[in-house]
Symmetry: C2
Subunit: 412 residues, 2 copies
């Protein structure tokens, strides 16, 4: 059987929106005009969406108080995005942003309760998710709601277990769906979910919960140490995560959104950034499972703000004073080229992965960057797209066809 994938949907390209002035602290002094100036930058380079991040404890400072003004500011930002033709994904529980956790006083110190396991806190969060989802769903340019940005970063300060993490996210995804059936309801986790055997958020959560799988590719996770800013392991890491996600899903057609990818210094120096952008995007946009790419992030961080990891300051497509960067011109070029026509993906081989991450999350270390499996996949990937398939499905012809796989390669 020659696999024949259907014509893929157009890829979506967007940016994770980091305000140029005052970072996310700017929610406390919300200004439509400041947002307007930032979104103009993003529209100018041809992006079609933004992922945006309200700060949870400022909107819900008490478990039973959700500030209408906080909701209204978010709606205004969404409306400003619409002025520029930008669609919007709203992440709800921030929660975690660039190393900082924003947690309300009602889960801290004298009121310390795990937001993953405490029943009253979960009720409070469910009310927040419901209220905000209903509000943002009134705007036609909103297409998705994510529970929160990399909520697994809120552990270990909030204790959880693998089962509790799954139940928490499953419950909240259902709240989103009930509140807004039209929207994509999504879960978001950082890559310890894929690589750390003991991490209490499992790959199954990523591929089973929500309407598509999201992955976040950050080469400072160890992959850039393998072969530098432009090496094949580094520039294929986003594609590798998309493949891992596709191989782990039970549904062969489940899309994967590369919801975060960026060019962090010092792993990727300024001179190498344009080539890193092109190679990373060219590799991943060839992947038939890819839904879209959302770059991290829109704007740099003012160095006058303290205590961020150094890499966080220069991740923007634009500087704080709205200057475009060479890497951004490259990204805009790849976006134009890709929009000109996403080809029907050609059939490709798949490397068999012994570990089924969904049923055996304790085997996650076997696929971590630098291990034998990853290195072999990277070696094969240099010659062209390479899928991943679990051993259990390596002989399932219908499944392989559905994923566009025409050959199965056993690990060396």
């Amino acid at each position: 059987m020659t696999p024949q994938l259907p014509s893929p949907a157009p890829l979506r390209f967007g940016a994770n929106y980091v305000p140029s002035s005052g970072w996310f602290y700017s929610w406390l002094d919300y200004s439509s005009d400041a947002v307007r100036r930032d979104f103009a930058d993003l529209a100018e380079i041809g992006l079609d969406h933004v992922r945006v991040f309200p700060v949870w404890p400022w909107i819900q400072p008490n478990r039973t108080l959700i500030r209408q003004r906080g909701v209204d500011d978010l709606l205004d930002l969404i409306d400003v995005a619409a002025e520029f033709g930008l669609d919007v994904c709203v992440d709800l529980l921030q929660g975690h942003l660039s190393s900082f956790d924003f947690l309300p006083s009602w889960v801290l110190t004298w009121h310390r309760r795990s937001l993953f396991t405490d029943a009253a806190v979960r009720d409070g969060i469910a009310a927040y998710v419901d209220r905000l989802t209903r509000a943002v769903a009134t705007r036609g340019n909103v297409f998705a709601v994510t529970l929160g940005n990399e909520v697994d970063n809120l552990w270990p300060s909030n204790p959880t277990t693998p089962d509790a993490s799954t139940a928490w996210a499953a419950e909240l995804v259902e709240v989103v769906r009930a509140a807004a059936p039209r929207l994509l309801g999504l879960h978001s986790l950082y890559d310890a979910t894929w690589y750390a055997p003991d991490h209490p958020f499992r790959p199954g959560d990523a591929v089973d919960l929500g309407d598509l799988t999201t992955v976040h590719s950050w080469v400072f996770n160890g992959v850039s140490a393998i072969d530098g800013p432009l090496g094949p392991a580094t520039t294929s890491h986003a594609d590798y995560l998309v493949e891992l996600a596709a191989a782990t899903a039970t549904d062969p057609a489940r899309p994967v959104w590369l919801q975060e990818v960026g060019a962090p210094r010092p792993d990727v120096g300024e001179d190498d950034a344009p080539a890193f952008v092109r190679r990373t995007l060219q590799a991943v946009t060839a992947n038939p499972s890819l839904w879209g790419v959302t770059w991290w992030c829109s704007h740099d961080l003012d160095r006058g703000l303290a205590d961020f990891p150094d890499r966080e300051y220069d991740l923007g497509l634009f500087t704080v004073d709205h200057r475009i960067k060479p890497a951004t011109r490259e990204l805009a070029a790849v976006v134009r080229e890709t929009r000109a026509g996403r080809p029907v993906p050609a059939p490709r081989p798949a490397l068999v992965c012994d570990a089924d991450l969904r049923s055996r999350p304790e085997r996650r270390a076997e696929v971590a960057p630098g291990g034998a499996f990853h290195r072999e996949w990277v070696r094969l990937r240099e010659a062209g797209p390479v899928a991943i398939v679990t051993a259990a499905r390596a002989a399932d012809a219908a499944y392989l066809a559905a994923r566009g796989i025409d050959a199965v390669l056993a690990p060396a």
Copy 2:
């Protein structure tokens, strides 16, 4: 020598300002008019000042970002107080309010650092204290700056040692003094400082640092269990703390501000509240060391707000819809009576305390409510004012005269 105290300064009476709508969360939606309506209540019953509580992490969300808008809202609130002839004490580091700790993300989780001991955090706090003190000192009706409300409640979540706590507060009091020599610079601690032997904030901090000593009297600390809402131990507890503070200070003339006192349910039922107010105020206003009394608090807490200890909801002089309470009428009556003329305090006896809390804080349990010393003091206090004097100074005639003490009583 017959002790003859000078004519005392008029007593100050005020309220700790808790906004009637939205509690301190209302800073996020600051409204001059809402404050105006609340302050009208307080002016109407003859109070002369308010103690007010900005929320630290909303004004300083990043270590190097102090929001001018946050400062401006505070200044506006101070100006509204001036419209009603109310003077203002500003507490800076909230920090702790009614069981909730408000802590910025830059001292939490991934950035976890003790605000008492980390050098960078201390620099950030010093910048906040300096900036806010300079700002509020531009207003003629501001008379004092307290470092923060009961900052010892921020321990144990922020580790400290007794010496570190002292150094922290001493440094910040100097920041206040340098920024605004005109204002009283103050430290504020809850009563574990006086009663808990291992508490890492010592009585010496209360009596050595700042321009006067502040004490907070809460009968739910165990004293109400001794003899109920109207018993002599309960209604003399504020006076007892003022006496302990006076006895512990090296300066016999150092004033003591009863900065917080209230009638908490269920310790003090609604029917007993008026008598509790009168007896408590009559006892403590007879104390020559007393500078003033600030009632906790101005307004009740909306029961729609969750997770507060039950006692916090009904502490207001006014309900959330601005109705005055019987206990408030009693307080207003005592204020009027006391203002009509504070008598020159008559000489009084003193009970000798073996433990010098300033040099031997490990002996604090000896003066805790319910212990032999406290019980004897309460018994004597039923016949009239009774001072406390440490054994080391019990024979110092000049000291005794300066404190208005005409007889020294050894413990039974």
